[in-house]
Amino acid sequence: MQKSKKIVVLGHFGVGKTSLIRRFVTDTFSDNYKVTIGVHITKKVVEISVENEVSLILWDLEGTDDIATIRNSYLLGTHGAVFVFDVSRPSTFEHLKDDLKIISDKMPKVPLMVVGNKSDLVTESELKEVLDEQEISVDFLTSAKTGKEVNTLFLKLATLLTTDA
């Protein structure tokens, strides 16, 4: 049987969690915003190298502005996590450091990717300004709209999870 890995995608509402997963799984994008309630779970098999496949089970969680309120059961058995913020909306990364601390307290030892999404909405220099303000290093700057860095993100995480195991 294939290895399967559970990945939770979390972050404030409207940052593009659903869109990132949709881009990764079906390579599509929609400008319409439909709020996610509860959790949507999808699966995608990726080939990390020849003869090395892993099935990613992606948990697209309801967005929240208070990460601490995320239900623990959603995080149960998680192998990897993605925290998404929106580079065009400061409120989604204002407390990045605190948010990440809460997440790593809830899921110690789970690899976490920090992702700034909607990179298509700001200029390079604005982006740099945003990043310089953060004490935390951001792993990926993605755009679900253009697809930039989306596959790279998930493949990197998948690789990380399979080599660690």
Binding site: Y33, V35, S91
Partner: protein, 508 residues
């Protein structure tokens, strides 16, 4: 009997499923979904794959809002997973309707939160840009003062030389253009000062009737040049002497009239002042400027008061100038607002109300009228000797122009210095009657030099009159110069006559 009904009414949203430790479905009551027995429940939906960790935890776990598409239907269920001896008991509770209505509420909330945030950001960005634009324009205007002063001075010097009529006419054009440019520059700087809160209303008693007469005198001629009529009517009951900021009132009214002149091609411009109210020692007046010009379209009615905006009229764009913006801002400083009525193609009326205190008893107004007389530039009171002036200026243009102006009078002997250190040397060895000094100098600036001179132990050096020259018209920077010990500060661009007048006055 009853339990069939009970089942129908209480349990129809709940499904019980029993699976073994490998995920094979052992039993199911099939209330919601018809699950195939003997198969792995993992095939039903990827959610179930993660149940493996519940086996390990050995505790009951509740999952909420799980979306499970089954056949043609989407179920949104809460799932309780309880470890039992056969494996795992799953209780699926169908809450599709509940979650759908919760979704709608959250949708509205999230959208409005995001929209508000983006609007705030957008406004901040606009304000930031506005600030940048204004400071850029302010700096730029300052930079323009030096070359403008030079041009003005050279024009005046040229005017004193032999010239043909044609050349004189051209010189007039040149002068006119330069004056316009200078006025625009002053306007721009005024706006900057108002915005920066550096302009203060200064009240004093003045003769309102004279004020009106001056306007009539000025604008009758101006209007006539353009083939227009100008008239000014004021209520007889308006007190003659009032207390207010005459200069700013003049600025407001002339800006409005100038604007009317600019946009009127035929007909007339009317300036009326009406008495709204007179009580105790306060009068409230209405000032109205009415024209028969092009008028302003509805869509442009706000834009015309914005600085540096262009307004489309008859398909062409035309700069509206800064007059209206200044009038509006000055009135705000005086707690009043400018109002407007306009019909496209028929004309416009701009009006505002202002209150003035007025003295109930006055001796006479003789003092006021004598003040208004314009003094001629006379140097009769001065000795026939040549006065020694030190000119400290690092800008060569300004330097040569000043040099020429002073030299042309044939009254001065002039030394030049560019640099602070040089100034002090010169001052010690020569006994100057006056020092004319740029405030912004490299190394030591004008204020520092002034302070050093004022600290000299020798009386004749220490007390040398110093006139500062600056492109910076802000009140506070002028105050700083005076504090350093300068007698007077002249702001660029200035006219030749003003400079000479000041020099003669100080030498006296």
């Amino acid at each position: 009997m009853l339990d069939t009904y009970q089942k129908k009414y209480t349990n129809n949203n709940r499904q019980f499923v029993l699976i073994d430790k490998t995920g094979i479905v052992l039993e199911s009551d099939q209330t919601l979904m018809k699950i195939a027995f003997g198969h792995s429940i993992f095939e039903l939906h990827p959610f179930f794959e993660s149940l493996t960790s519940v086996f390990e935890s050995k505790e009951e776990v509740n999952f909420y809002g799980i979306h499970i598409p089954f056949e043609d239907q989407l179920f949104i269920v809460d799932i309780k997973a309880a470890p039992v001896k056969e494996g795992l008991l799953l209780i699926l509770k169908d809450l599709t309707e509940h979650y759908n209505s919760y979704q709608k509420i959250t949708q509205t909330r999230n959208e409005s939160v995001i929209k508000t945030e983006l609007t705030v950001l957008k406004n901040q960005e606009l304000a930031e840009r506005e600030r940048f634009k204004n400071s850029f324009i302010q700096n730029f205007s300052h930079e323009l003062r030096n070359p403008l002063t030079s041009i003005m001075a050279i024009i005046e010097i040229l005017g004193d030389t032999e010239m043909t009529n044609e050349q004189l006419q051209m010189l007039d054009f040149l002068k006119e253009s330069n004056t316009n440019l200078r006025l625009m520059l002053e306007d721009t700087l005024s706006i900057g000062m108002i915005d920066a809160g550096q302009l203060q209303i200064q009240k004093g008693v003045f003769d309102l009737h004279k004020f009106f007469e001056l306007l009539i005198f000025t604008y009758k001629a101006k209007a006539k040049e353009k083939g227009l009529k100008f008239d000014c009517l004021w209520d007889e009951k308006i007190p003659k002497l009032v207390e207010g900021d005459r200069l700013r009132l003049y600025q407001i009214v002339t800006n409005l009239i100038d604007n009317a002149l600019k946009y009127t091609e035929q007909g007339s411009i009317q300036f009326d002042v009406k008495l709204n109210q007179k009580r105790a020692n306060i009068v409230n007046l209405r000032f109205e400027v009415t024209d028969t010009g092009v008028g302003i379209s509805e869509e442009n009615k706000d834009a015309i008061f914005e600085s540096f905006r262009q307004v489309k009229s008859n398909g062409t764009t035309k700069g509206v100038g800064l007059g209206l913006t200044i009038a509006k801002k000055l009135l705000l400083l005086m707690n009043s607002t400018i109002k407007m009525q306009s019909t496209l193609g028929e004309g416009s009326k701009f009006y505002f109300d202002l209150s003035f205190e007025y003295p109930l008893f006055t001796d006479s107004n003789s003092e006021l009228s004598s003040k208004a007389r314009r003094p001629k530039i006379e140097a009769k009171h001065l000795d026939q000797k040549k006065y020694k002036i030190l000119l400290v200026e690092d800008d060569t243009y300004v330097q040569t122009t000043l040099f020429k102006i002073l030299l042309n009078t044939n009254r001065f002997k002039i030394d030049l210095a560019y640099d602070g250190a040089l100034v002090l040397q010169e001052v010690v060895t020569n006994n100057y009657d006056l020092i004319l000094m740029d405030v912004n100098l490299p190394n030591l600036d004008g204020n520092q030099i002034t302070r050093l001179i004022r600290d000299f132990p020798f009386k004749n050096i220490k007390n040398t009159p110093i006139i500062g020259i600056t492109a910076n018209a802000y009140e506070e920077s002028i105050a700083e110069c005076l504090k350093a010990g300068m007698q007077k500060v002249l702001t660029k661009p200035f006219e030749k006559d003003d400079l000479l007048k000041l020099i003669y006055k100080i030498l006296k």
